[in-house]
């Protein structure tokens, strides 16, 4: 596997995952605003904070109203992380990957890209906005299904997994942090109907609400929400699950080079940030994370993901 190709694989998958989480977050925020009376004058501002894109947005739009925020997150060509740009980046990276991915995956990704070129702000005129996000989510499900069922478990698959899982761990932390930025409750609201509705929305945006109910029943409690989205090894969108998958893929790539377990543990030693975060997610309990400050912990996860990305680049992806 060429380093340049590995890096294209990584960025293709990472941008697809990023586009999907953005779609999920924008969608859930939209519905939250429909269901609960927004407090404050800029109900979309928290989303900008989550992505750290307040400044970029402010440079291009006067107010954070619904139209401009949807435009910024979905369509804006000047926003490198708009959903449209993420799809374009994924697709342009995939152009070099056609020998490594299946034709089915390429055709579907290319189709999504072509569709995205034709998107206009008219999509956001109610009630079309619901159909838009729901179709978009379906597109991502389809691509993910094609990826899982047509790519052999070879280094190409693993480098895509690495990009996808790193983005997932980072984005799930980001999404939970919505509570810090947006849902920061007034004390009297904790446990109240709005609080619960908002936590349910967070779970729903990760497609985790049904899994939560199966595990924990009807009552929505903060530590259990954090539990399923951060520490649960079985839920496919949790940070822990993502890190486990990442380690499996890295292990497989290292094993391709050498069979001996000693060198495998040596190669693990080249990823200290990964080891540290992985250990934290395996041992820490959600209650502990909450007590020491959920926001700080979630920021720590995001920083660690950036450090892991650097480690992966240094070891496998950098070409110079």
């Amino acid at each position: 596997m060429l380093r340049r190709i590995a890096s294209h694989l990584y960025w293709t998958a990472r941008n697809l995952e990023r586009a999907e989480w953005r779609a999920r977050l924008v969608d859930v925020n939209y519905h939250l605003l429909v269901e609960t009376a927004p407090r404050g004058t800029e109900p979309w501002a928290p989303l900008l904070a989550i992505f750290g894109e307040r400044e970029l947005f402010a440079a291009r739009y006067a107010t954070a109203d619904e139209d401009s925020v949807l435009n910024f997150f979905v369509l804006d060509l000047e926003n490198p992380n708009s959903i449209r740009n993420c799809i374009t980046t994924a697709r342009n990276n995939a152009q070099s990957l056609r020998p490594y991915i299946s034709s089915e995956l390429w055709i579907d990704l290319n189709s999504l890209y072509l569709d995205a070129q034709a998107w206009t702000p008219r999509l956001f005129i109610s009630p079309g906005v619901f159909a838009f996000f729901s179709e978009l989510k379906d597109s991502f499900y389809r691509i993910s299904g094609i990826l899982q069922t047509t790519i052999p478990r070879d280094p190409a698959y693993d480098f895509m997994q690495i990009g996808m899982m790193l983005e997932r761990a980072e984005d799930v932390a980001r999404m939970l942090d919505v509570k810090y930025h947006f849902l920061l409750p007034r004390l009297e609201d904790v446990g109240g109907p709005i609080d619960l509705l908002q936590w349910a929305a967070v779970l729903r945006s990760a497609s985790a609400l049904e899994a939560y109910r199966k595990l924990h029943g009807n009552a929505i409690e903060v530590d259990k929400v954090v539990g399923i989205l951060v520490f649960d090894p079985s839920f496919p969108r949790s940070a822990r699950f993502s890190l486990d998958q990442l380690e499996v893929s890295l292990g497989r790539i290292a094993a391709e080079r050498s069979e001996s377990s000693q060198s495998q543990s040596q190669s693990r030693a080249q990823f200290p940030a990964l080891q540290e975060l992985s250990a934290a997610l395996k041992s820490d309990r959600s209650a502990h994370a909450l007590k020491s400050g959920l926001h700080q912990f979630l920021i720590h996860i995001q920083d660690a993901c950036a450090a892991i990305s650097d480690e992966v680049f240094g070891r496998y992806l950098r070409t110079d």
Binding site: M1, L2, R3, R4, I5, A6, N92, Q95, S96, R98, P99, S103, W106, I107, N110, S111, L114, P155, F159, I253, E256, R257, Y316, L317, T319
Partner: protein, 498 residues
Amino acid sequence: MAAIVLETGSAPPVWAAYKSGTGAFDEMLDLAGSARSGCQPTAKALFAMPLDWFAEISERAQHMFRRMGVTFNVYGGSDGTERIFPFDPIPRVIDADTWATLEAGLVQRVRALNMFVGDVYGEGNILADGIVPRDLVLGCPQFRRAAAGIKPPLGNFITVAGIDLVRGADGRFYVLEDNVRTPSGVSYVIENRVVMTRLMPDLMRSCRVRSVERYPADLLHCLIEQAPGGKSNPTIALLTPGPFNSAFFEHVFLSQQMGIELVEGQDLVCADHKLYMKTVHGLRQVDVLYRRIDDDFADPLVFRSDSMLGVAGLTAVLRAGNAAIANGLGTGIADDKAIYAFTPAMIRYYLGEEPILPIVETYLLRDREVREEVLASLERYVIKPTGASGGYGVVIGPKASEDELAHVRELIVADPCAFIAQPVIQLSMHPTIVSAGSGSGAHTQIAPRHVDFRPFVLLGAKPRVLAGGLTRVALKEGSLIVNSSQGGGSKDTWVLEA
């Protein structure tokens, strides 16, 4: 011109207006309006179709190409660089007998061209014997001194050749030009077939059309056979200039079909006279490089030093015999438009055979008497710059304006060696779906359009010819320029089983 004659008698409304082009050979219909040999089932099926159907399959074909991402990049275009190659769904049919002759002629020609390149960069016998003028070869812009003395495995400088053929008014195929540097277009041949199989499965089955899908496997065999030292499991890579190259889709397609690495210059490095690619686990040696970049960019140590596309040291690796390259450096000497005039002599010289495929009469303007004769009636000739490809710089006398003729006259006088002249060949025509009229009056119509043909020949341990090729069609009425970069489209070419 004769109108269409159906077996049932009267012409269907769709085809009633169809008139074969004046003075050109119609590929599908003879002068009486009957289908030519091999074309009967196709013509019969197409005659039965309503006009709507042609509009609909054209649209379906375009849709499929776009979704499949079968595109090419246009240089200098401002409106986004990615385009699909326009496709005409009416197939061009070549019967088995015609093909047998073409195939023999193509193999003969490419073998001779390959021997010529080996000779020029080796012993130089053909120059010593005065068959091809030495100064013409050494002065050719495509001559690469750096290739002298390189001995490729199997002696193959040319692995892939695309030979452009045209059919004259007499119905004979002529060689118009050879492409033995980095010929492209074969991916469209294969993808066109994929689309046609979906558009007209029944017709295709009933016609017994020969398959084209073996091409990538055949090419891979040819590359493997050339591995230095006959290595049994060689590492092979395709070198592309990258996503901005006009033929990038093809590079992707072929590497995917062959299951080999698609590399860019930045992926390669030479060390100890060996060629390596940078993998996630370190360097891995490359044995055979199928390069789709020009000589000029292949090795900045030897050719253009500003090239970021190639790999420094490649020439030394080849000279040391530690890797093979396809096509070899300097093969452009064999597809030069002036050298072309000597190709029949080459065939006689190397193979002792008469050329099976004729070439177009060619006048070298470096010869003063010839030049004066041509300049005296410039409007009767096609003038081609010897160095260019892709149809760039070609002036077609009868169609050129006074200004254009005056301009090319100046160019010829300034540098006579850079041009050749040929008589105008009336390219054959083929029924093609076109849209006529404009605005609300726009409608679909079937009309004759000029076509050419590029079959592909592979040389490995033995020659292999793709049973088909790229039929390019000039979509503009009356146009003779079929190049995709200049408004040409393509058709599927059906070579029939014997």
